[in-house]
Structure formats: structure tokens, C-alpha cells
Amino acid sequence: MQTSAVSVNIQAAAKTYADGTRGLLPTNLTIEPAEIMALLGPSGCGKTTLLRIIAGLESIDKGGWIRFDGRDVTNLPVEKRQVGMVFQHYALFPHLSVAANIGYGLKVRGVDQTRQRKVVGDLLDLVQLQEHAHKRPTELSGGQRQRVALARAVAAEPKVLLLDEPLTALDAKLKESLRDELGQLLRRLSITAVYVTHDQKEAMAIADRMAVMKSGQIVQLGKPEALYRQPTHAFVAAFLGRVNRITRSAEQTVQGVLSLDTFTIPVPASHGSMLMVRPEHLSIQPPHLPGAPGVVSTRVFLGDKVQLTVSLSGQEPVLVDCHGDVPWQVGDSVSIAINPGNLLPFGESP
């Protein structure tokens, strides 16, 4: 239904609350037309604050500005900002039917009845809720309510669609199937969207780009794959997936090597003394093959794969993801192969 998507440009947007706490440090962010941008981070990182700032539900400190397609909306009240928002618990209007909920934005804007009916009908088709049109929200399942909330948010053709943890209220299993469905729906709408979540899988599955946030600021911004493979901060690496931390001595760092017992590989000094590697990037092999020698200390069978914990001398135990049919049991001696290319490259910070 969207004819032309808009860009969102945020410059030096910061939020200081009345009591002096800083919800958001000065932040710059540009979102391309029709792009789905995820704001990802732990609770209290400022992601919801940034979303509410874009919506106009929070004002920003002096000096910052927000533009939609070049037009300054910094001081435009939320009612006039033409954003669509999907709330964490949907915030559907309980006394209105599904159809009336979806049409609410059109009704308050004075769109004529015929057009209202047409748009609501189209959206009911899109979210596959035609037969529920006259039900009340309380009669719907969690997944259906979430679709009503989405349809309601896009009905008045907002410039930007904002989603605040839209899958949080659902149970884990439903969440996964709806995640993909929601991603497809958003692409079909081809609307500029900002998606707030604390679930990295959700963000990676849905977003074109994501901004990982911590303590009121964006730590790293980029495509999900790039962030996962080339995090520039230890925080990003650890937040997006599991990581093993391997330390090396100052001497090894200067020499540009990593030595684990008798096993030595070249690792540039620029990687710093704290190295990180993901469990799926370590491979486990019989003890006579070249690699870091270790002993299996736990074995967790997960069906399609087995997760082993291996104790290395002088290091924290490392996690290794293996194929479901590996023979290793607790107490077995093994050797762990590390490809230097898989070590996550960032500087000193642990």
C-alpha cells in the first residue's frame, strides 16, 4: 500500500530525564527508505527511548534534530508525526472490534467511510483475519492480536513504522514462527521500519541493518551478518552470540602468536591480549592431530548437535559446538583446532 518510503535522519538526539538520568546519549542514525532497522540491546540500553523519540512520544534535549525525508519533525507532536507504532502488549482498544481497531487511525483523521472500508478490508486480507473482523481483541489469540496491532499501525499509511518488542508477549514457539511471518509482512509493506528488541535472533531474522546499543548509545551499526562476523566491540560479539574468551600473555601478543600448550598459531598483535572465538568456529579432533590439547569436561546433547565444554590448561574452559554424532565423551582427551581467521578481531578491551 505504501507508495514511497521515507528516510529517517537523526542527529545528536539525546534524552535527559527531569531527575538528571540520561536515557540516551547524543546519537546519530540514518535509516534509508524502506529499510528495516533493528535497535538491539539489553534492557536499559536506550533502545526504547530512541524509538519513542522517533515516534514523538519523548522530546529530545536541545541541539538534536530528527528529519523524515529531509523535513524537520523534531517539534512535531506525535499526533501529527504520521508514525505507526506497534506496542509491546499491542495496546489494542478492547471495546472496539478488530475492524474498528484497524480503521481507528483513518476514522480520527476524517477519511471517508468508503475509503475506510476498502483499506480495512485490504489489511484484513493482508494479515489474514477476514473472518475475525467483528470479534473483539480479547477473543483473539496472541499472534492474531499482534497482526491486528500491525494492521492498525499501517492503516493510515504512516511515514515510519515503529515496533516496540512486538513479539515479547508471545510464547517461545509461536514467537519463532511469527518472527518470520512478521519479517515477510514488513518487506511486503516496503515501509521504513524501526524494530526494537532485546532478542538478537529476532533482530537478525527481521532487520536489514541493526544498531547494537549499550548504556544509552549505539555501539555498532551494520548488517546482521557483518556484526556477527566482524564485531568491533567485545560487547557486540558477546551480545550477538556465544563467545569463548582466550587470553594470551603480553609476550605472545608482542610476538604476534597464540600458544596453547604445545600448539602455536600466528595471531597479529593488533588483536590484543584477549581473544574471542565462537563455539561453532572451533573444531574438535583426536588428540594426536595438531591443535590445543584439552579434556572434555561436559557433554550436552541437543539433538542436531552436541555442545562440549573442554578444559584447556591455563585458560577458561571453552565451549565447542559439534555435529550430533561426535564420539567424544566426558573425560576424553581431545585436540582443538583453531583457525586464526576465526578469531574475532578487536583491540585490547576484554
Partner: protein, 264 residues
């Protein structure tokens, strides 16, 4: 699932309490229907006391209901916006205001009545009309409505609904009347029921505020107990039951329906 309680001891206690509470009601209503209370049923049944009550005090019943209904309507108009303002205003002033609002509940009705007479007693037309009593009732019952509705407005889902309507482009009037008030309707109904009940039975304050020409049911009741036969007073009680209880039940039933309809 529906297993009845099987403790005979508990059943006995329940029966005793129920009988203790019902006996005065039964005696009082019987007294209203016998020719002579001291002779009991032997003196024969009659409707003449009821007839006398309706002739002498009929107007008080009508006025009591009118005042209670007006009190509910007036308090909804004042109380619902006040509740919204209090719910959205986190300042200390709002807290203080709410405390002051609740004061008439704690202060004896006689004192409130006296204060009203001191302040407005000289406005003769006002003082001698039923609106003087109505004002007293509204002051006394307003906090019950405001408290209930404020709590409803403060619910996080209501705050989110308000924001959702804002993002959809609704102005304040559209949000308030179209979304928020319907969403707190069960609370408004529950608060109104409280207001109606309190107003119908209010005696303390009304006794101070009434004039010989402006009497409500409870004031009339006191008058009949003091100056007429016991049978007339009892007949008055019976009239109260017959008129007021069905209204309360109807009101309660409506509240219940609303709660079911808007349950989230």
C-alpha cells in the same frame, strides 16, 4: 470441582450468623404489615401503614432517588476528568489535592454540613432547595468515584492505549471520549454504584442540610421513627427495601455486564 463444603461446624456458624442478621429485617417488615405490633400477627394484616407512609413521605422517596441519580451524573462529569488529571499528573500537588478530596469521607457528616451552612447558608434560594443537599452528597461521594477511576486510568495498558491513539493521530477529545472513557467504563460503573448507594442512604450530612420542605428518605425515616407509631416507621423501611433494592440490583447487574464486556 463444585464440591460443597462438608464441614457441619461451618454450616452451623453460617446459619446462626444469617439468622441473626435476617431476624431484624423480617421483624421490621412484619411490623409494617400488622395492625398492632405489640399483638403481632394476631392483630391481623394491613396495608394502611404503607398507605400512610406513601401519602405523608412519598415525596421523600422520589427526591432521594432523584438526588442519588443527579449525584451520580454530576460526579461523573466532575470526577472522570478529575481522575484523568490526577492519574496523569505525578506532582506533589496532585497527591495533596487527592488527599483533600478524600477529607469529607473522614470528617463527620455533621461537620461538613455545618461548614456548608456557614459558607452558603445565606444564599436563601440555594439553601432552601434540594440542590443544597445534592451539593453535600456530591462532596461526600466524589472521592469514591475519583479513587476508583483514577486507579483505572493509571493502569499501564491504559497509558499504552492513550499513546497508541496518539500515534494514530487522535486529538485529546477523540482519545478521551473515544478510547479512554470507554476503557474505564467498568470502573466508572463501579464507582457510580458506590456513589448511588451512599447517596440514597446518607443521613448525617443530609440531616444538617435539610429543611422541613427538603427531606430525603433517611431524614423522613428518622422523623417517622421519632414522631409516629412504630408500625409507620417499619412501613417506611419496607418502602425503602421495595424501591431501593431493585434499583441497586439493576445497577449492580449493569456493572457486572460492563465488566464482562470490557474485561481485558
Amino acid at each position: 470441582m463444585n464440591r460443597r463444603t462438608q464441614s457441619p461446624g461451618l454450616a452451623l456458624i453460617t446459619a446462626i450468623v444469617a439468622i441473626f442478621m435476617l431476624t431484624p429485617m423480617v421483624l421490621s417488615t412484619t411490623a409494617a404489615l400488622v395492625n398492632n405490633y405489640s399483638q403481632g400477627l394476631a392483630s391481623g394484616l394491613t396495608l394502611r401503614w404503607l398507605d400512610q407512609v406513601i401519602t405523608v413521605y412519598g415525596q421523600t422517596v422520589v427526591w432521594s432517588i432523584a438526588i442519588a441519580v443527579a449525584c451520580v451524573i454530576g460526579n461523573i462529569f466532575i470526577g472522570v476528568p478529575a481522575a484523568y488529571a490526577l492519574a496523569r499528573n505525578p506532582s506533589r500537588w496532585a497527591k495533596t489535592f487527592e488527599e483533600i478530596l478524600t477529607l469529607p469521607v473522614a470528617v463527620p457528616g455533621l461537620a461538613t454540613g455545618l461548614a456548608l451552612i456557614l459558607a452558603y447558608g445565606t444564599l436563601r434560594d440555594f439553601r432552601q432547595s434540594y440542590s443544597f443537599i445534592l451539593v453535600g452528597h456530591m462532596i461526600f461521594t466524589l472521592p469514591f468515584l475519583v479513587r476508583t477511576v483514577t486507579a483505572a486510568f493509571q493502569r499501564p495498558d491504559l497509558v499504552a492505549m492513550d499513546e497508541a491513539a496518539k500515534t494514530l493521530g487522535a486529538n485529546f477529545r477523540q482519545r478521551f471520549l473515544g478510547i479512554l472513557v470507554p476503557a474505564v467504563l467498568p470502573a466508572i460503573a463501579a464507582g457510580s454504584l458506590m456513589v448511588f448507594t451512599l447517596s440514597i442512604g446518607e443521613f448525617n450530612l443530609t440531616w444538617m442540610l435539610h429543611t422541613p420542605l427538603t427531606r430525603t428518605l433517611p431524614v423522613g425515616l428518622a422523623d417517622s421513627y421519632a414522631s409516629m407509631r412504630l408500625e409507620v416507621g417499619s412501613a417506611y423501611t419496607l418502602v425503602f427495601f421495595i424501591v431501593v433494592l431493585p434499583m441497586l440490583w439493576l445497577f449492580q447487574w449493569c456493572t457486572h455486564l460492563l465488566e464482562k464486556k470490557y474485561a481485558n
